[in-house]
Point group: C2
């Protein structure tokens, strides 16, 4: 859910301007609801078009632009990262995972379509993400983007992070320092896809060297900050504010930054990461204003 | 499980020769078991290395060779199709789907690692499949293969077929003729990935026109026959023969070819499809002997 509070006017304009464009891109790379078998497309679209912030596709487009690329070249990749994000939410919400009934203020996919359909809708979206990449015109760019996305989403990235998240409810490996463990979860679970979204945007603009490194550092740091803020919101927010059930982490005994280090240290760590993210944007000068505001917006959600 | 009965000597030799190669290819494109987080890689590999027939990667390699291609160029795609097949088995076996405890004579992934890990292991393998494609050297071939695989595995292919399969347990659309409906399930659920495996092999050999059409017809027909035979085995086979629980379709009220049209008509329909498949191999002459034997082998399982 996009809340306007804490958004600079230029960022607000950016969200408004890009909003319709993103919805159009997301619609274009997915079979229509009428396509046979209708049930699976209904479930996939129910979840996809439920008012997400679209942070990841926005990052793809904006990182492409900042690196001097043609925004349109990044459209297929923008769709792909949001499909991946949406599939991960559907599977995370399953009864055998986080068992959530509510997402963005609406009943979750398995509540509406049943568990089997939720598994399949996630599988369908994950597959559609990679299918969307075939619309990238330049085959060399396609190859780089595919590699980046598969790594970020797979068992060494997001799926690996979800594994740690699940495991943390049951067992903490005794030899790992707790801060490092929390950090690994965040890095894999959330930061990997956010970082990849930024890098993929840059790749669509043929960015290399210093520019790609700057975008990588930016993506990694806002990604880590994002997860800390999300966990702070789970701890401090209400169902009305977040559109989903809160205080789940504590109930489930999950290992999160605020639960391990407290709210104060979590807020200051998030603030430090955001400053570092903005610092790495320097080489882009004024062109990076939106990315800088996006970083501030991420942390503003928690105050 | 590979049974030798009904296999021609040349096909038996082919299976033996390729067996180690395929295991090596499957191993190479997946993170090792020691890689962090170990748990997910253990689960992915548990399922992958449990003695499957490897029909799909064998088809990739052999269709590539028959079309005059370099087998090695098809290695990444061969891994990809088996990862996709394995992920689909893991998710199909979940309690919310087919609820199977046994697969290839061993406890299913969710029985050993829990449901959450089974969902994630499937997600990890599906993602790894697309990641493996980045090892295809020729970017133009990569793009064609990616497009083919995403379509075959996604909501207009395998995921769509699984949707129909699940739906058939609950509701048959009243306006659809039953034979057509069964056919749609088979075409999407099984034939699409088998057909794609054949086409992808051909694509790795730069096949076009008549050759690609012949391979397409072959793949479609053996794919359809394969599913009919699988359903016959579920109806007539024992747990010992198949390595999994049988008579499930009948118990669940699934709509399968043998349950709708009887065993006799199912066998003759499968035989007709296999003959048609072999017929389309004619343009390749003697080179297609193995593909022809593979077609016979598929149907021999049911006698």
């Amino acid at each position: 859910m996009v809340s306007d509070s804490g958004m600079r006017p230029s960022l607000k304009r950016f969200f408004e301007e890009k909003s319709l464009l993103i919805e159009k891109i997301l619609d274009e790379h997915l079979p229509r609801e009428e396509r046979f078998p209708q049930k699976i497309h209904k479930a996939m679209r129910y979840s996809l078009f439920s008012g997400g912030k679209r942070l990841r596709p926005l990052l793809v487009l904006e990182c492409c632009r900042v690196c001097g690329g043609d925004e349109e070249a990044a459209f297929p990749a923008a769709a792909a990262v949001e499909y991946i994000h949406t599939y991960s939410l559907i599977h995370d919400d399953l009864p055998c995972m986080d068992d959530d009934d509510l997402r963005r203020g609406r009943p979750t996919v398995h509540k509406v379509f049943g568990e089997a359909m939720a598994v399949l809708a996630g599988d369908g979206l994950l597959t559609a993400a990679f299918g969307a990449l075939t619309s990238i015109k330049d085959s060399a760019v396609l190859k780089r983007v595919l590699s980046e996305l598969a790594k970020a989403a797979g068992s060494l990235g997001m799926v690996g992070g979800q594994t740690l998240d699940i495991t943390s409810e049951q067992e903490i490996p005794p030899e790992t320092p707790l801060e490092e463990y929390v950090f690994s979860i965040h890095l894999l679970k959330t930061a990997s896809l956010i970082k990849a979204s930024c890098r993929i945007g840059a790749m669509c603009a043929y960015a290399k060297g210093a520019e790609l490194s700057a975008i990588t550092a930016y993506g990694r740091n806002i990604g880590l900050a994002f997860q800390i803020c999300d966990d702070i919101l789970d701890e401090t927010g209400s169902k009305e504010e977040t559109g989903k059930k809160t205080h789940k982490d504590r109930e489930k005994g999950k290992i999160t930054y605020p639960l391990v280090f407290g709210l104060e240290r979590s807020r200051s760590e998030a603030a430090r990461l955001i400053e570092e993210a903005k610092e790495s944007l320097r080489i882009f000068g004024e062109k990076a204003e939106i990315l800088s505001s996006l970083a501030d917006f991420i942390i503003s959600r928690t105050y």
